[in-house]
Symmetry: C2
Subunit: 216 residues, 2 copies
DNA sequence: CAATTTTTGAGGGTAATCCCTGATATTAGA
DNA sequence: TCTAATATCAGGGATTACCCTCAAAAATTG
C-alpha cells in the first residue's frame, strides 16, 4: 500500500486527485495540507510514502518545503505539481530533492504511472516538463553570446593567470608556476582588471565565475 | 526538399542513414563528411538544411563544429548524434547551437521524425536523452549537501562583509558602509578566511559563489 | 609581409591585504 | 543563568596587490 499525502491549497484539485486515487486498490490518500508550513509535520505523523506537492503553496512554498524535508524526512518521495511549466521552478525543486514533476493538466493514467514510478525509486517527469528543460538548455547559448560581447576576449595566457588567481595563488607563486617574471604576471593581472572592468582580484573571481570564463 | 549533410566517421553508419533517407521523397542526402574540419565548408557549399553531426568526430569534434557553425552558417539546423548517452555531451552541444540530440540506436521512424521536427524549426530529443538530462538535474542536490557540511556557519555580520568583498569594496569602504571601524572589518575578514579555509579574498569569493553562501 | 595582438619585462610608488596578539561589550543557546 | 559565540576595536608589521609609464620580443591575422 502506498500512503499518499497531498499538499495543495486548491481544494477542488485535491478532491479530484483523491477521487482518482480512490479507485486504486494499492494507494491510499492519508492526508491533505493546504499550506506549506504544515506539510513537514503531516508527512512524519501520517508516515507518507509519496507527497504530491504543489510548487506554489501559501505560507511556505514548495521549494522551501522540499529543502526542509530532504533533511528531516528523507524517506518520503516527492512529486512536484504545478499549474505552469516554468523552467526555473522545475530546476529549482528538482535540485532540492523532488523525484518527479508533473503538470496539473495531467490525466488519470499519467498520475498513477507517476506515483508508481516514483514509489519504485525511479524518477518521473511529464513530457511537457522534459521538453521545457531541454529548450532551456539551448537558451544558454544565446545568453553566453550576449554576455561575451560585453567584454573583450581574454587571451589564453590571461586565462591561465586568472585560473591561478581564482585558485588563491599570489603573484609570486603564479610567476613561478608559469616560469615568467613577477612583473609579467602583474601585467596580465592588470590587463584582466581592465578587460573585465573590475577593481581587484575579488572582482576577477566573481566575473570569471559568473560568466564561466574558464570553461572554454 | 530537405537537404541533409551527414558528418560521421563510421562509414557503415552513414550508409545506413543514407539508405533510410533514400526512401523519403522529400529528403535528400547531399553530402558526407568523415572529419570535423571539412564540415563547415561542406555545409555552405552544399546548402545543407540539416546537419546530422556525430559528437565524437575526428579532427574537430562535434561541439567545436557546432560552435563554429553558429557564427558562420546560422541557417543550418544541427541534430547531434552520439553512440552514448553522456550528459556532459548533451548539455555542451545543446548550449552551442544544436537543435536536436538522438542516439545511434534510433530507429528509422524516429530518425525521420527528428529530421522533420527540427526542419520545421522545433527541437527534438530522444526519450533516453531527455531522461538523462533530468536525472542530471537532480544530482545537484547531493553535491550541494556534501559541500555545505564542510565549513561552519558564517555569521550574519560576516555575510554582510563577505557580500561587500565580493562586490569589490575595500576594507575601508566596507567599514564606512557598515559604520564600523576598519579594524573590525579586518577582524571579520580574518574570521572568514579561517572559517572558509582560504588564503585571500579571491578564495573567499570563489568559495562563496561555489556554495551559494549569500543565498540564504 | 605588414599590422595587430599577445606575451614578456622593468622601475618605482601607493594602497590594501594579511597576520599576530591582544581586549571588551553584546547576544544567543543550553 | 551561565557559557559560548559574535561583534566590536587596537597597534604594529610583513606581505601582497594595484597603478603608472614604458618597451621589446613573439605570435597571429589579414
Amino acid at each position: 500500500m502506498i500512503n499518499i499525502l497531498i499538499a495543495d491549497d486548491h481544494k477542488m484539485f485535491v478532491d479530484g486527485i483523491e477521487s482518482i486515487l480512490r479507485l486504486e486498490p494499492d494507494m491510499k490518500v492519508v492526508g491533505r495540507c493546504y499550506d506549506g508550513s504544515s506539510v513537514e509535520e503531516a508527512v512524519i505523523r501520517l508516515k507518507a510514502d509519496i507527497l504530491l506537492l504543489d510548487v506554489n503553496l501559501p505560507g511556505m512554498n514548495g521549494i522551501e518545503v522540499c529543502k526542509k524535508l530532504s533533511t528531516t524526512a528523507k524517506h518520503v518521495k516527492i512529486i512536484a505539481i504545478s499549474m505552469f511549466n516554468e523552467e526555473s521552478y522545475v530546476t529549482e525543486i528538482l535540485s532540492n530533492g523532488a523525484s518527479g514533476y508533473i503538470l496539473k493538466n495531467t490525466g488519470r493514467e499519467e498520475l498513477i504511472k507517476a506515483i508508481k514510478t516514483v514509489d519504485s525509486g525511479l524518477s518521473y517527469f511529464s513530457e511537457e516538463v522534459k521538453h521545457t528543460i531541454m529548450k532551456g538548455l539551448m537558451k544558454n547559448n544565446e545568453k553566453k553570446e550576449q554576455k561575451s560581447k560585453f567584454f573583450p576576449k581574454v587571451s589564453k595566457r590571461e586565462k591561465e593567470v586568472l585560473a591561478l588567481i581564482i585558485d588563491e595563488h599570489t603573484t609570486q607563486e603564479i610567476a613561478s608556476k608559469l616560469y615568467i617574471s613577477l612583473k609579467t604576471v602583474e601585467s596580465h593581472r592588470s590587463s584582466l582588471l581592465n578587460k573585465l572592468n573590475v577593481r581587484n582580484s575579488a572582482g576577477l573571481v566573481r566575473v570569471a565565475m559568473e560568466n564561466n570564463l574558464l570553461a572554454e
